[in-house]
Amino acid sequence: MNRLWLTLISVLIALPSWANNDPAEVRLQGIAAELRCLVCQNESIAASRADLAVDLRQQIREQIQAGKTDSEIRTYMVERYGDFVLYRPPLKTTTVLLWFGPLLLLVFGLLILAITLKRRRSALADKVLSADDLERAQALLGQIKDPGKQP
């Protein structure tokens, strides 16, 4: 299978690498992709073809040329349109749960998992098969002829 990967890699070599031409345009894309087009259904300013989006892209372009930083441009947009324009919601009291919720869920999930596994071990360790159980198990084992048995 190493050969398989070699093939893939040589295919990749055949593809030309190509960097985006203009760093300012790359910055523009980066900013615009995280701003919401306010008149569209649910599209970023980078994606939308609405007049507002075209206009805002132009404004961002001008501000980049004027030497403003990304965060200054974002602040400007928020001042004009509110937090709604940001696809990456700012960390505030109202969004604490949003930002830390997934982490809480994960900790909670792993905690439950650990507790369950621990409890299970002790519950199963206490259980010893009685003579009756053993006999029944033997009888059942005798009956089993599972044709599709899996390893």
Binding site: A19, G82, Y87, L110, L113, Q150
Partner: protein
């Protein structure tokens, strides 16, 4: 007259469904064989009745009966016939009728493919499905009747939303709904098992093919939706973390956890409670998804408030389904045994961790989707939660899950030895590191995320290929002789690796240019030259198009002509973009026309999308894996054996 018959058939179905729910569940509880025997014919009757009503609605579309309000709103006399047929599920009311068709269809399938099951069990399953069907029928009949008449009838329809006039519409909703609704079968099995107090390996074995079937339809449905959005919306994105997408993705995540958990319950009789809970949640989340999409709550909380009937009804249905099943679960769960024992490091434990990760990921996506709605409803302002949030939260949760894909299949059930497992993962690790470091270098731009993604994909793919070779050598048999469910697992995992390659390379190395092009002008993208020749007008069946002519060439050698379009549909104000794509399996060149500018120039978008096809090929492989798993002879042998046993018994009697 025809629409009224359709309407009447739906009303009849409601009574059959209610009767089925009541009679068969009561029969199963009392052990009354006659009542139990009602389950299968009732399922058949419901399916036939809904099919009649569905066909009649389609007929109204075909004959352009604009006196039916739904037909008038969603079609038009100039709409081609195949779109008129697909327009049946192009709007709210009709898509619910499609939902019902699938719901009763699944129930009918259960009645057909359940000969190996005890009749009492079948009765319980079909009874629960009958009640679910009744709930949806009430919803359709009370709030969303597709057969409502318009008086006076308009001369002409308003036309189908142009976004929907595409092959995507013909296949995407049916596949997606097959998935959503399919999980109701697994749900019904879980409820039936809870009712009977019989949660065991047999129950897991019965539910498994149904869960896998629903999952594979959902996978295909989501993938097709993604592909459709990619080429129809015209800006080159394949996943938007849009609430509508999320509401199908959350059930998929939980459903993926479910099919893994079912495997443990079948093989080792463990995690029974957890599996039941997942079966209930998957269906509940499908319902929640339907509520989110259908209530209008997503566009705005206020849109919901203006016509709350539909939303409130769905919310009530959701509350009843979830409330009653959780209550039943709470009563029965403590009596369920623990099942087979296993050590802390074993395949069971690894699958549990996978389940936790998938469930948390689903919870996180749900949180991000619902959060802005809650904030808005509570009057705390309007916020947007978009791709930056979801990528940041989702990707870290998926990295360990992807790592585990390679580990799980090489770990033993009950007790695995860390040293053995590590030994088997030596080669995957090596390949992962080499590929992870190598690929970004070959692309000429280092990116840690690309390295990580490629390494993960290589890790999974190598482990899959190794696993298959090892087993073939151990059993001394060919690829085709291996158990299909086992092959299915590996194919699906391989699909995941392919998917990860696609996502990683697209996100890492895609480029986009949004430029002004005058006739004769050339732009280069990824070593290709695209020369704009100009735009001409063309007339379609129900639209006028501006068709661009762009020559694609490389090193001066002309490769092909590309024709991106801009369409104006006669009966709708919205202009539509039809993109032109040149694909070769390893990359897309994606060209979309923007707006006309002065002097015959146009704004044009040119994207270079490396390996984007792999995203959907990966999904298809996953679905293919599911299909293989369902076709495993294990499920069929049981049936044949049982049938011969029954025949032998009858012969004796």
């Amino acid at each position: 007259m025809i629409p009224e018959i359709g309407h009447f058939a739906l009303i009849l179905t409601l009574f059959v469904a209610l009767a089925q729910g009541g009679i068969t569940l009561a029969g199963a509880a009392r052990g009354n064989a006659t009542w139990i025997g009602f389950a299968r014919p009732a399922a058949r009757a419901q399916f036939s009745l809904v099919a009649i009503s569905f066909v009649l609605l389609m007929w109204s579309f075909i004959v352009k009966d604009f006196s039916v309000s739904y037909v008038a709103v969603n079609s038009n006399s100039q709409l081609p016939w195949f779109y008129r047929m697909a327009a049946v599920w192009g709007g709210h009311e009709g898509s619910l009728l499609l939902w019902l068709l699938m719901q009763t269809g699944w129930a009918y399938a259960v009645s057909l493919f359940s000969r190996q099951l005890p009749d009492v069990m079948v009765a319980r399953v079909l009874g629960v499905l009958g009640l679910v069907t009744a709930g949806f029928l009430l919803f359709v009949l009370l709030t969303s009747n597709p057969f409502e008449r318009l008086v006076p009838a308009p001369m002409e329809g308003m036309d189908l939303n142009p976004l929907l006039q595409d092959v995507g519409l013909i296949f995407h909703p049916p596949l997606l709904y097959m998935g959503y609704v399919g999980f109701s079968v697994v749900f019904a099995f879980a409820i039936a098992a809870l009712l009977a107090g019989q949660l065991d390996s047999a129950w897991a074995r019965w539910s498994r093919p149904w869960a896998t079937a629903a999952w594979l339809f959902l996978t295909l449905g989501i993938a097709l939706g993604s592909w459709w959005a990619y080429y129809e919306l015209g800006w080159g994105g394949w996943w938007f973390w849009d609430p509508v997408e999320n509401s199908s993705f959350v059930p998929w995540l939980v459903g993926t956890a479910l099919i893994h958990s079912l495997a443990v319950t079948e093989k080792r009789a463990s995690f029974k409670n957890w599996t039941v809970l997942l079966a209930i949640s998957t269906f509940a989340l499908s319902l929640l998804g339907a509520f989110l999409v259908r209530s209008g709550v997503l566009t705005s909380v206020h849109a919901f408030a203006t016509d709350p009937r539909r939303g409130v009804f769905l919310l009530m249905l959701f509350a009843v389904v979830v409330g009653s099943s959780l209550l039943l679960f709470a009563i029965r769960a403590p009596k369920v045994g623990l099942g087979g024992r296993f050590e802390l490091f074993s395949r069971e434990s690894l699958l549990l961790v996978n389940n936790v990760l998938l469930a948390v990921a689903a919870g996180a996506v749900l949180l991000g989707t619902l959060y802005p709605l809650f904030i808005d409803a509570l009057g705390m302002g309007k916020i947007s939660v978009g791709p930056p949030y979801f990528n940041l939260v989702f990707v870290p949760l998926m990295v360990p899950a992807l790592l585990l894909i390679a580990v799980g299949p090489v770990a033993n059930w009950k007790r695995a030895k860390l040293r053995d497992v590590l030994k088997q993962l030596n080669l995957p690790l090596f390949v992962a590191v080499v590929a992870g470091v190598g690929v970004p270098f070959l692309y000429g731009r280092w990116s840690a995320l690309v390295a990580l993604g490629i390494a993960l994909a290589a890790w999974i793919a190598t482990a899959v290929v190794m696993g298959i070779f090892k087993r073939m050598r151990a059993t001394r048999s060919g690829l085709l002789a291996q158990p299909r469910s086992w092959m299915g697992m590996h194919i699906a995992h391989l699909g995941m690796a392919v998917f990860v390659v696609g996502v990683t390379l697209v996100m890492g190395y895609e480029t986009e240019q949004d430029i002004r092009m005058a006739p004769g002008q050339t732009v280069t993208a990824a070593g290709y030259e695209l020369t704009f020749r100009g735009v001409r007008s063309e007339l379609g069946a129900n639209y006028a198009a501006q068709v661009g002519d762009i020559v694609l060439s490389r090193d001066g050698r002309q490769l092909r002509l590309m024709h991106p379009e801009k369409r104006n549909y006669f009966f709708s104000e919205m202009p539509m973009t039809e993109v032109a794509i040149d694909a070769n399996g390893l990359r897309h060149l994606y060209v979309a026309l923007g707006e006309p500018l002065a002097d015959g120039a146009w704004s044009v978008r040119v994207h270079y999308k490396p390996f984007i096809d792999w995203i959907w090929i990966g999904c298809i492989l996953m679905a293919l894996g599911g299909l293989l798993a369902i076709s495993d002879r294990r499920y069929r042998l049981k049936r044949r054996e049982k049938r011969t046993a029954v025949i032998a018994q009858e012969a004796k009697a």
